[in-house]
């Protein structure tokens, strides 16, 4: 019911936006600069609402985040599920899950004040000029935030793999790692994919870290060391400050919002279906 309300409010505002900006321009335009004239007599921009750079920014930062979170999260899950002694597992798992409870603003500080300058310093030492705010800094820190999602869910699905499968592999003379990589991992894969997709939708929706660490400039670039912006950041950007409520600039926020909503909804649905089909197989 709440979902429906949110969805409808987004739909109505989006329709008003598309009354002023053609949908095709929004979906395929390469320039995003939503500044519109504040007064009728003011000279200047009419605004450009090409959302491609914004979406690409989201994609890039999400990609970096998952590159960090997936391998580390999976390794933690493998260790906890198959190798760690019970006492170690009881201590480490909640500790890792704590990462999920850190406010994202704090991650933002961390990205802006620690990771960003560190990357810049490293790049300068290598002879490149890199801004403090970059997609890499934001993505890496976001990846750290997502690690517990991946590790905790994957750990659960690995534990749900029936012991009989492990016994079967051991009885054939498989070592622990052979059993893990060639029997347990494939069996748990659907669940791990589900965990991955949930992590992705978390990354797409993340705002605070990106505002602080990746910047607001909608650059169209394939270089992850550039400052970039994401859908969520732009929503914040166009809605803060005072302007007419029915200007295309303000309304564009809702359109971006609905796009984001649809994408994460689809990802979550896929994740749920995948996880459920996995459960059916063993119960």
């Amino acid at each position: 019911m709440t979902t429906l309300g949110i969805f409808l409010s987004l739909i109505f505002e989006s329709l008003r936006f598309f009354a002023q900006v053609p949908p095709l321009d929004f979906l395929t335009g390469l320039q995003w600069s939503p500044q519109t004239a504040m007064r009728e007599d003011q000279a200047g921009q009419s605004g450009a609402f090409g959302a491609v750079p914004v979406f690409l920014g989201t994609l890039m930062i999400t990609g970096v985040a998952m590159l960090v979170a997936l391998p580390i999260g999976l390794m933690i899950a493998f260790y906890l599920a198959e190798y760690a002694p019970a006492r170690m597992r009881a201590a480490v798992k909640p500790a890792v899950e704590l990462l999920a409870g850190v406010p994202t603003v704090v991650y933002g500080y961390f990205a802006l004040l620690t990771v960003g300058p560190a990357i810049r310093g490293f790049a300068e030492a290598m002879g490149f000029a890199v801004p403090t705010q970059s997609a890499v800094a934001a993505g890496a820190v976001m990846g750290i935030m997502i690690i517990p999602f991946i590790s905790s869910l994957s750990d659960d699905v690995i534990n749900a793999v029936p012991q009989s499968l492990r016994d079967g592999a051991y009885a054939l003379g498989a070592t622990k790692s052979e059993t893990l990589l060639r029997v347990v991992f494939p069996a748990a894969l659907p669940g791990i994919v589900g965990a991955f997709l949930l992590g992705v939708s978390r990354a797409i929706g993340e705002t605070m870290i990106v505002v602080m660490a990746a910047g607001r400039a909608a650059n169209l670039s394939a270089n992850p060391f550039e400052a970039m912006t994401t859908v969520t950041v732009q929503i914040v950007a166009v809605l803060t400050g005072d302007q007419e409520f029915d200007s295309p600039k303000t309304l564009s926020a809702f359109t971006l919002g609905i796009t984001l909503f649809v994408v994460t909804l689809i990802l979550n649905v896929i994740a749920l279906i995948v996880v459920r089909s996995y459960r059916d197989r063993y119960e």
């Binding site: 009989s164 499968l165 592999a169 009885a171 054939l172 003379g173 498989a174 070592t175 494939p186």
Partner: protein, 286 residues
Amino acid sequence: MVNDTALKLDVGRKFSEAAAVGGAVIDLAAAKAEEKAKFVCRGVRVHYGAKEALHGVDMDVPDAGVTALIGPSGCGKSTFLRVFNRMNDTIPGARVSGSVLMDGADIYAKGVDPVLLRARVGMVFQKPNPFPKSIYENVAYGPRIHGLAASRGELDAIVEGSLKKAALWEEVKDRLKEPGTGLSGGQQQRLVIARAIAVRPEVILMDEPASALDPIATARLEELIDELRKNYCIIIVTHSMAQAARVSQKTAFFHLGDLVEFGDTRAIFTNPKDQRTQDYITGRTG
């Protein structure tokens, strides 16, 4: 003792047949098998934490034929079975003491890799546990990890040969790429037997392999066991006394962690020496 067994009451189909063929012939075969023991167990104890599950078992498992381990639930028969391929090692808190010699070598000696031992001693479990992979991949798994096949062609041959030995080839040869979990229970159990055979073990352990199967699938499995015993030393745990009587040549009766009686299956069922065995096989306990 040998001669009067045939006169005793008829416990299973097998014994009436045995009586018709003549007990002496069968006993010669049994005596021959006794010459060579595959496993020599002395004072085998298994602890789970502080609890002792097996209180010192002495037993010589013959190289040829089927040895059945019977007894009421919780008597230690499955625990004892898992001694032979060191599967108890995978249970936290489990400890095995005493000596178990396989072909004269202690399998619990320092430096013995349980992983290599398990390649020689295959195991089939109570519940069929095919991997969530194709039928082909299930059988190919063992040969792959042990590097038994140098080429795709060799691997194909191993898979086909193993499935044939497990009497499953005719049913699955046209759908080797389909998931092994899609087969019926009886077929799955034969699939995991094929999977075990594929690593060329010397011994196959079976832990109540028919308990999850219907009577027809059980009958097929028993036929298969009878076929396999020509090439493998088989040790089977079963809670069905009729099954033990049908498939095994030697039977061991366990009770509360003790090996009560061990001998020729026919003798155990027709002329048990111990009162506890007598009570169990006649259905008074268990």
